[in-house]
Amino acid sequence: MDIQLIAKVWPFFAEAAVVTVEISVLAILLGLSIGFAAGLGSLSHNKLIRLPVRFYVSFFRGTPALIQLFLLYFGGPQVGIQLDPFEAGVIGLGVNIGAYMSESIRGAIISVDKGQTEAGRCLGLGHAQVMRKIIIPQAARLMVRPLGVNAIALIKGSAIVSTISLVELSYTAHRFISSTYKPFEMFILASVFYLLIVTVFSYGVRKVDQRVAMD
């Protein structure tokens, strides 16, 4: 283990870790927005909403995220979508995780007891009102944990944006492996940062989960 080398290159990794955090947070926010819309859309009674949403979810969950990213970044210009690596990374990851998040949200909504809907309807509330006032508040606490799992998968999955030459943690690790021939050291260094990010994030998810579970 080459400690001196690690001491010399770690600041590059720290800088790259910031990029990994930025891209992950933005992609998670995008994914949550898409996930909510698609989660509700996939439960819609209207076929014109439900079917396209189901198709989106099935396509993005059924194909590799790497292919989706390449399609967006390299194939995009052919259909008039020109993005820089950062934009493509955020959108590619966000749209991908949105499909998984919509399933977490849909799962949480359908696991709220059916009697709740019936009771709400009996009291004279409309379908939308039942959703907004009765189902979603209860589903919210059920979805924190699965959404947290999705988000953590995204943080690790964000490594794939290194393939479109966005300078984040994995790209930095790869670059230093090529220039120093010290794969173990670089792996450990990048791992420390990933583990740090993932641990902090999991702690946050656990705290939120405890909060919503209490009241």
Partner: protein
Amino acid sequence: MGLDFSILPEYSDYFLTGTLWTLALTALSMFFSISGGILFAVLQLNRHAIIRWPTSFIAWLFMGTPLLLQLFLVYFGLVQIGIDLNAFVAGVIALSLHFAVYNSDIIRSAIVAVDSGQVEAARSLGLSNFQALRKIIVPQAVANVTPALGNMMIALLKESALVSVIGVMELTLSAQRAISDSFRPFEFYIAAAAIYYIINLGLEQAVHFAERRTARYR
């Protein structure tokens, strides 16, 4: 530049070899990741901390870091210690290790979930520890484990695309090669996505079949 999908058949050879390599890569990694998962699970349930802790540490490390990084570690790391692997073997090792860790988590909780009264009952009927494990615990654990393990295997198929980064000519890299010849990324990535999607559907059917078959052991 408009889209022109009529160019695809010309490159069907790329897709065929790519698909075959993806299938081989996925099938081998599935086999080793499940075997490795069982091994890891058994080690993590060992009563000696000296065996339990290192395996738990490896599991924690591999669960907290990206597969891509692990791929680099295996491919470049083994060269560093003098083992020159070809990219395919490195890809199988990395995928197997990565998913073995996740599988071991599923398998371990499935073993733990089998009621301890089952072992006690088997033991009092005169079965040995090993017999109890093989005839009573494992069949029940297999039924518990199949849905989650099936999902992992579906994830493995999709993650296998990452192996293109170290130069394995699987489906993703084949598409890239065809693109560098035809300069039509959109069409070829859509085609590759469609092939992944079809394999994925087949795999989902296989998982449903396995779930139905094992459900009777519950």
